[in-house]
Amino acid sequence: MLKYIIKRILIAIPVLLGITIIDYAIMSLAGSPLEMMVGPKTSQAALEAKAIALGLDQPFYIQYWVWLKQLFQGNLGYSMKSYQPVSQIIGEHIVPTLLLMGTSLLVGLLIAIPVGIYSAVNRYTRRDYTLVSLSFLGTSIPSFFLSLIFIYLFTVRLGWLPSSGMTTPGTEGGFMDVLKHMVMPVIILAVSISGYNTRYVRSAVLEILQKDYLRTAKSKGIGRFRVINKHALRNALIPIVTVIGMQIPTLFGGAVIVEQVFSWPGLGLITMNAIINRDYPVIMGIRLLTAVVVLIANLITDIVYALVDPTIKY
């Protein structure tokens, strides 16, 4: 097992390097970030001085090499806009994003797993069709449209929930305040997460229900509840775990849009700003981070896989 993990990490390193090279090349194709800094009064000489200061006068492979060397010293570079270290920017914004994504995933699964099981156990009934149709509805609503409806209902009409930021400006924040700000973004992300997963859980459980060992369990007469929760669910977990691992990138993508609408101070929001300003060091930092997170998520998925299914050996 340990050998397998080490092997996986070693494979991941060239993949990561490749990704950063491609990213860097694409970004230098995009044009210089200096264009975004030009004001009406900037002189040509000042621009050139700036280009040299930021190392932008060098060809792209030298820029990349400089960036890579810095990276190995634990330095992700500095933002071209605010001159803050990239690692500090990411550090400040990663917690809100993780909080948002983690809570949404949890809420989404808490809905999807029971609903999926219920749907599978009552397959081809009216209730099953209704639930499956609802899950399709959940994945068909664009998150930004749902956000607009929610803001209209709960902020404008009812005035129950705040629609922007993570804490009320000018206050200490505190648990209840953050919770209030989280309700809408979490529900919106959870709607699509539960929509996708309900169908996965349903089909995973359906497949297990056809198996011989389940018929054996049923015929032992241990009761419906135990058959489903003990024998069926545990075996259905394997495909579910894989699917959740695969959703991490999608989840991050969804967070970008929702963070944008709700001005949630997370990675999605700074990513959008960095893209608009062509703030390369920040974009590179975030891309590297997401790449690492995705690779780790894949690795954990495989490990959990082995834990849930004892027949899998690495």
Binding site: P142, V156, T290
Partner: protein, 290 residues
């Protein structure tokens, strides 16, 4: 000759079975008719639309009336006409993206599955890399780099959406390669092209078609999201996403519901019905899978 005829007959009855099974899904049949109607409306938009979508009329931000069925926007454009054209754009984007990504995916999947070896490894590594990335992030960076616009959005989404198809086709090719009829062809010395295009490809069309419906639905959603963020189809060209962009302003959100609700409802109905059709199609093509 006789063999050929029998093959034809079995193909026809197969198609008939698929249609028969599809018909059992009432919601999917209804969705299918709905999509047909919307598509016809979108194609005929220049004839149906009462106004030019970009023409400024004399009423500004007026609610729906007999003159303007869905009201007018802030600068006096007829919303009904704009929505027709926006639906046209969104359907076009979805359709074009589906064609591009399915074509890329099918070709790479066939090559990867049939030839194997280092080509297979290379293609699958690229597939994994693209699949494991926050998709929206990739698209956003690409959109920012290549000047947002209709064709760029189509190309970007098309070049990002293919990995799932490639994997699917590769898997199918791998299992078909072991079947007796393909092995028979190999033994009979049939040319590779014939085996790939005439024997293997037709047998993977079903799953590819089902996958294409989900790509269609996803790319409509993605186009809307990108245009909503201002990175997609650019105004004044109307798209369902950039119409909704206007609703970020609080006055439109609170007091001019006709400027944003219809566009959102159209997106939901489109995506939902495409998903229903895709789900029923999956069931109709392969009733044993769930």
């Amino acid at each position: 000759m006789k063999n050929n005829l029998m093959e034809k007959a079995s193909k026809q009855s197969n198609l008939r079975m698929v249609i028969k099974r599809f018909r059992k899904h009432k919601l999917a049949v209804a969705s299918f008719y709905f999509l047909c109607i919307i598509t016809i409306l979108a194609i005929l938009a220049p004839i149906i639309a009462p106004y030019d979508p970009n023409k400024v009329t004399t009423s500004f931000g007026k609610p729906p009336s007999a003159e303007h069925l869905l009201g007018t926007d802030q600068i006096g454009r007829d919303m009904f006409s704009r929505l027709l054209y926006a639906t046209r754009i969104s359907l076009f984007v979805g359709f074009a993206v589906t064609i591009i990504s399915t074509a890329i995916g099918v070709v790479l999947g066939l090559i990867s599955g049939y030839f194997g070896g280092w080509i297979d490894i290379l293609i699958m590594r690229i597939t994994d890399t693209i699949m494991s990335f926050p998709y929206i992030l990739l698209v956003l960076v690409a959109a920012a780099i290549f000047e947002p616009g209709l064709w760029n959005i189509i190309l970007i989404l098309g070049f990002v959406d293919w990995p799932a198809v490639a994997r699917l086709v590769r898997g199918n090719v791998l299992s078909l390669r072991e079947t007796n009829f393909v092995k028979g062809d190999v033994v009979a010395g049939m040319p590779r092209q014939y085996i790939l295009l005439s024997e293997i490809l037709p047998n993977t069309i079903g799953p590819v078609l089902v996958n294409a419906t989900s790509v269609f639905a996803i790319s409509i959603l993605d186009e809307a999201a990108l245009s909503f963020l201002g990175m997609g189809v650019q105004p004044p060209t109307a798209s369902l996403g950039n119409i909704l962009n206007g609703a970020e302003s609080i006055t439109i959100l609170t007091s001019k519901f006709w400027l944003w609700i219809p566009a959102g409802v159209i997106i939901i109905l489109l995506v939902l019905s495409i998903n229903f059709v895709g789900d029923a199609l999956r069931d109709a093509i392969d009733p044993t899978a769930r």
